[in-house]
Subunit: 375 residues, 2 copies
């Protein structure tokens, strides 16, 4: 299909429309979808994909795809393997200011890998961040050799230039968000560095709590808040002296009072992070409350305890039970679950105990040890 | 000035051009500048400003201004006071989907405050984030009552609708970045919670190091990396037992070995944050190296020690000297500076010692106590 004259006459309006949709989209993948649709809808390209750099792997993975990507092996290769930075097409895009057009990939060494996938007509647009790093690539293709027309080249250039800028910007937003999340997790892991006994506890309990919460229907925003609260749940222990924190036997009454103070101390530290949502603060402040009102610090009961804190409380105890502590051996998964179930409706919210059982059972029937759900 | 027909005929191209500039701009303020220029250049507005919400104050502060903002009192009021969320014009924008146009602010209660500032013609465009919160407002004005023409209204609506989306997106990016920075600072402050003696040290030493570094010509990217390193410089102390960390007298050889280990331990923790720039890692790993090679852990000397680590080393010792520690009283600023100067070229990089002296002196001649530079 060549470019309809109605489109080529009104390229700025089309580009503007795509930019508007992209700016309003919740994430990079959804922002690029209308662009791919426009490429496939208004040019001879039969399929298109947007690839974005994941820096640790130095590989560009698809974030949005559209149209016909060819037979299953190709699709799978793209989805799982992505485009490594060493691939000739990526090397060719590096530093190249403009869209690359290939009429026949068999004739061009930099596109040769695509000929093997039966992709013969190809255009590839680079996306740079503000430091000049190649952070993304927008590809569109045909399954026959194809001479891209002047009108198609103009359309592809117009659309990809603005949307490339947008993609770079959304990429920056995502990287900040990821870094932000890493920093919060590091804050939690820091504590573990002090207390060799709880190594891995933060990540395990966070993963488990998120699974339970997802099954209970919490949305992504709430899951994120729960995750942040989970990272930071014991942050108040930073203020507990070693003599108490690492005490091997029963704690004295005074020690116990100090130890319980970690939830208030943690809340005090957490409120210095003005961006923490209430749900995260709830997890930090209320994860030692009990369903029957016998917990601390407030003795809240039942649904007066926010849901995220109730979820976290169950998972926190479960993970403590299945791991060794100064005062106990590591229990088996079954022993731990039996213990939790015995306190269903007293210590723990009954509904959450049931969901924990389901999460652990589904991991087991999937042939994984229950521990695998925590990986 | 009414809208030139060349502009009104090609609104999508103008809007696209502004979006392109905005997406490539380094920050929200610079992204909005061309928009304000376009409003003042292509309509009868004589001045325009973009205001952005600072959530803690519930106030919208100007991030970019253009043209004639009126006499000095008005400009000052705008710059310093901003637009409080309680202001009638802000209330009128809240939830309003479209641009508000006022021919004569004296006749409209929601714009009355502007009449007092001799602004009579006004248009105000709301900027919402994806959660529907009013995060910004784009204002343009005349100093006479003015009936906005249909063409002007079309131009202003077209430009502000896309740029509003862009502003919301850049605002999200900034908020993620700020939150990210807060999380790193919290990581540092957490340590202080454990060690009452060093309360405030992280913030003071960070502020001082940034001032010294700025005077030495480091750019904003390097300053940010230095700041992050400064927040985290003693993060390795998390692994030091209380018995050593809080030991009141001289440390034994074994204790000293443990204590010195905090720089290696800190580096190990910091490398779990993949986004930390090398400069931040340098500060954490090398802030106990000495100019003459007598420091630890590597005994690096002179310019083999990265600049940021050399800057931080001077500021860290200075702040330790002027504050009380378990083993010493708080020294005066002059005593501390004299001590640092006595170790110019042995412990410390001579150039940095000189710059520290300048920073402290300039704070004093400004009539502030030297401490004020650290606020």
């Amino acid at each position: 299909m060549s470019v309809p004259s109605s489109v080529s006459n009104n390229l700025p309006a089309l580009t503007l429309h795509l930019a508007q949709q992209g700016l309003a989209a919740p994430d990079l993948g959804s922002a690029m979808m209308p662009v791919l649709d426009a490429l496939v809808g208004n040019t001879s390209a039969v399929g298109a994909a947007y690839f974005q750099l994941r820096a640790p792997e130095q590989t560009y993975y698809p974030r949005a795809t559209c149209g016909d990507l060819g037979p299953e092996p190709l699709r799978r290769a793209l989805q799982h393997g992505g485009l490594p930075a060493t691939l000739p097409i990526v090397q060719a895009l590096q530093g190249h200011p403009d869209v690359l057009f290939f009429e026949d990939t068999r004739l061009m060494p930099e596109a040769a890998a695509f000929a093997e996938l039966a992709i013969f007509g190809l255009c590839a647009a680079p996306v740079y961040d503000r430091q000049g790093q190649l952070v993304g690539a927008l590809l569109a293709h045909t399954f026959e050799p194809y001479a891209w027309t002047g009108a198609e080249r103009t359309l592809i250039r117009s659309v990809t230039s603005l949307l490339g800028l947008l993609a770079a910007r959304l990429d920056a937003e995502e990287r900040e968000r990821d870094a932000h999340e890493s920093a919060l997790r590091a804050l939690g892991l820091c504590l573990e560095a002090r207390d060799a006994e709880t190594q891995g506890h933060t990540d395990r309990v966070t993963a488990l709590a998120v699974q339970v919460a997802r099954r209970l229907g919490l949305d992504e925003t709430e899951l994120r808040a729960l995750r942040w609260g989970a990272y930071l749940h014991d942050i108040g222990k930073i203020g507990i002296p070693d003599a108490v924190l690492r005490h091997p036997g029963q704690l004295s009454t005074d020690m116990w009072t100090l130890m319980r103070g970690h939830v208030q101390g943690g809340l005090q530290l957490a409120t210095q992070l003005p961006f923490l949502p209430q749900t995260a603060l709830d997890v930090i402040a209320l994860h030692h409350e009990r369903w029957d009102g016998g917990g601390y610090p407030h003795g809240k009961r039942g649904e007066d305890i926010p849901l995220a804190a109730r979820i976290f409380a169950v998972c926190d105890v479960y993970d403590a039970l299945i791991n060794v502590r100064p005062y106990k051996r590591a229990w088996t998964h079954q022993e731990a679950l039996t213990h939790i179930q015995a306190h269903r409706g007293t210590h723990f919210d009954p509904r959450i105990v049931d969901v924990l059982g389901e999460v652990l059972a589904s991991a087991e029937t999937a042939g994984e040890p229950a521990q695998a759900v925590l990986a």
